[in-house]
Amino acid sequence: MAAGGEHCRTLLEDLGERLVTRLWTFLSRLWALLRSRQMDRDLDDEIASHLAEAEEEYIQQGFSPEDAHCAALRSFGGVTQTKEIYREVRSFMWLDDLRRDLRYALRTLWRSPGFTMVAVFTLALGIGANATIFSVVNAVLLEPLPYADPARLVALKETRPLAGGTTGQRVRVPVSASSFFDWRKQAPSLEQVAAVVTLDLTYTGGTEPEQIGAAAVSANFFPMLGVAPMLGRNFQPEEERPNAGGVVLLGHGFWQRRFTGDPSAIGQALTLDGRPFTIIGVMPPSFGGAGSAGLTRNAARELWIPLTLVEAGASRAANFFDVFARLKPRATLTTAQAEIDVIMQRLEKEFPETNAGRGGKVLSLTEAIFGDVQSTLWLLLGAVVLVLLIACLNVANLLFARATVRSAETAMRAALGASRRRLIQQFFTESLVLTFAGCAAGLMLAWASLQTFISILPSNVPRMDSVAIDGRVLAFTLLISLLTGMTFGLAPAWQGAQTDLNATLKAASRSSSGGVGRTRTRNALVVTQVALSLVLLVGAGLLLKSFVALRGVDPGFDPRNVISLRVNPSREKYGTPQTQSAYYERLLTEVKGIPGVESAAVVYPVPFASFISNQSFRVPGRPIDPGEMLSAQFNIVSPDYFGALRIRITQGRAFTERDRIGSPPVAVVNETLAQRMWPGESPLGKRLGLGRDESEVVGVFADIKQRQLDSEPRLQICVPVLQQPTRVMFLAARGSSDATMLLPAIRQRIAALDAELPLSDIALLEERVAGSIGKQRFAMLLLAIFAGTALALAVVGLYGVMSYLVAQRTREFGIRMALGAKLRDTLKLIVGHGMKLVLAGLVLGVAASLALTKVLGGMLFNVRATDPVTFVAVCTLLAAVGATACYLPARRAAKVDPLVALRAE
């Protein structure tokens, strides 16, 4: 027993001692790492004095000084080897290696600045583009929605057949009040079904009246999202009742602006639309800004009031609610959709006159908010990844060339005892240094270009204000940089280290051709590059063609030099049709009197506003198809609307001053409606049922686009404002030149009529039209930039390979020419070789494009994804550019004097 105990103790002691020794060794190595230069010097001194001592002893033994010196060295053994082993023992081998490789890499890169700059710049382009696009994807798509358990949130829409569209096409429309109540009660998958109506409220507490974006929400809206007011309280269910006192929740921005962030704002009164509201709370800063803009149909919201809801007599026909809900824990989109379908089918049978053809759609909240942007952003991310891939191939190509040039050096190092692993390590270090330089430069590029980039984002992209280079973007960039480094660095490193010592050293005096395998790899790289850039170019070309087609679409009116703005007369002063029509008549007289105004009109809503108005109508005497809902885009216009916007009247007349309250109701319809309702007949004098009244069709106007340039012709109806006025209208004034110049005068005239009347939504009509194709413009522009970059990179790659090839074969060309080859033959030989690569790339690229451009299908207008014109144009472009890239180095080679070429090596 005792012996056993002792044994145990010695074992433990032993173990302890060994641990201490290990630790000590580790620490001294760490220490050595920090003062390696000092230790190098110490060792040199020590060896020197060792040799001196030895020499002295030999001299004492009778050696001559020279012999003593030699003998001392001999008995010491290899000084260099000693130092090398010493270094190995001294510190962590790999760290030391890394340090030396780094230093070596930096030195060699520094010595070839041309190569380094091209490589770093290439990488910076690829990495920078990725960082930029990813920062947008990150902020817009990857950041979770700022609500509790957002995966369970859904948006609900009603659907109806597209008016005048082909069969089966359905549009998503807002929800009617009664559908909202039915869904809330009858869909067991949904809990907390909430409704929202966006509206603008006139705030009159400031220096001048202001239109504030607001939303009326049901009391369960905030609990459904899982968002609570930062200060104060949420709405109570009883505040939804019609006669409850007005209460309002402030957005953080509004609170800061109007109350300088003072918490005592709660309980104070606020006058909105001339009515008093009590402030009951403030929402957190994250809520209501552009960050949750997607929840509501328009821009940011700053005020929330309770939505007044009365189930009894809720309208089935008027659709203006945005409805959101939370799925119950075990419910899915599919179960919810099935339930909504059942409800809608029943309603269709029960209320055929309002619900015929109507359906419902359940979408995830993310889909509802980002559906539009998502595909564009993923597409762009795909495109930049391709650009990065091309950049990688380019750098790999450069590295291959370098490895070949340096094969003599490599062979020498191998001969001197460098292991293959060390050689690979060293090449690889060089690639990593390049990568990190490229990564740093790329991040700088991304950082510098981010603001420009955000400014070209279409304005309806949600959350774009939070786009920034944050930790996640940095991590992503580092990750792709590392991947990049491995992609382009490993193969050349492997091949570089794969030196046949004998062959290389023997050939070292003459530049070797780099071997068939290596050339083949480099050719493959060029072919791939050409193919990839072809894919990007085709994509960009298709989008460009589609964009040009889209921009060339005639909207049916002339948007040039027209300023438009929204006039919001208050409900109190302009509550009746008489006061409204009187106001607009006066307003138009005033505005037309402004010097520089050619014509002016009021219209609700102005084409390409953020919303359109739809109105159902009847055609008396026309048999109604079951399931057909007649609905048309509806505008209330002043008599000179058609003249001011230069919309053609094709039959009958436009409205006049005589079409006013009390005179027989009239309407003007577009050609599509006329043809569809009364085919082969004159529409003039026909009756049109609108609401309770019947109007007489007095004229026909040419179709116009109301919201989208790429939409099919829709049914459209206009009625005169003097006859069927509405409170809020848009003023549209055409100037003889720049219409923005008219704005101060217009403001002044409007204020002179009524100082308390707020204006909003001011924009040139041209801007509105351009804004409607902002998404397409953005996608086209970016893809064009990326494709251009890709083309440039591919050309550089091709040029590099050709130049290199030519340089390698200068001697051969010299011989050929000495033997009587003509300049043309040599040119043909070289250009032919290059063009073979280009052609192979084109063939591959066309095949890949045919497969890949399908993803563009949904984004194209009037262009097919396989559009032959685009394909041919892009191929021609690439071939021409490629030919130039081959021709330049070829000419250089062909011009070489055979004698010089032969002596060159």
Binding site: E17, V20, T25, E46, S49, E53, F76, G77, G78, E88
Partner: protein, 115 residues
């Protein structure tokens, strides 16, 4: 790859170094090298250079310490001395070596008898 001979050499060299330092007290590198050569009766073809990595390793393990000093001829040299940990280590290794040498010696004797 050639088999790594240096480890074997280091192992024995380590022992020789610390034994030398125990016997003669602090010494500089050249003296240690010469002493080892003399003791081995010049049978050991020592590359004197290999001593220095061995010295470094011993120092890293804490068995010897070093300081800069002057040689007999007045040169600036690094002088190595045995530490207490080194002395312990020496005793252990000495015992082990003797045991091992004993066994090998006996083994060789038996083989001689058999033949």
């Amino acid at each position: 790859m050639m088999p790594d001979k240096s480890d074997v050499l280091y192992g024995t060299l380590d022992l020789m170094v610390i034994k030398t330092l125990e016997a003669l007290g602090p010494l500089h590198g050249y003296r240690i090298a010469r002493r080892i050569e003399q003791i081995s009766g010049n049978q050991l073809a020592l590359n004197q250079g290999t001593l220095y990595p061995a010295l470094l390793k011993l120092e890293q393990m804490g068995w010897i310490s070093s300081r800069w000093g002057k040689s007999e001829s007045g040169r600036r040299v690094r002088i190595y001395a045995l530490t207490r940990a080194g002395r312990n280590q020496l005793h252990q290794e000495e015992a082990q070596w003797l045991r091992a040498a004993n066994i090998v010696g006996r083994f060789l004797k038996i083989s001689e008898n058999v033949s």
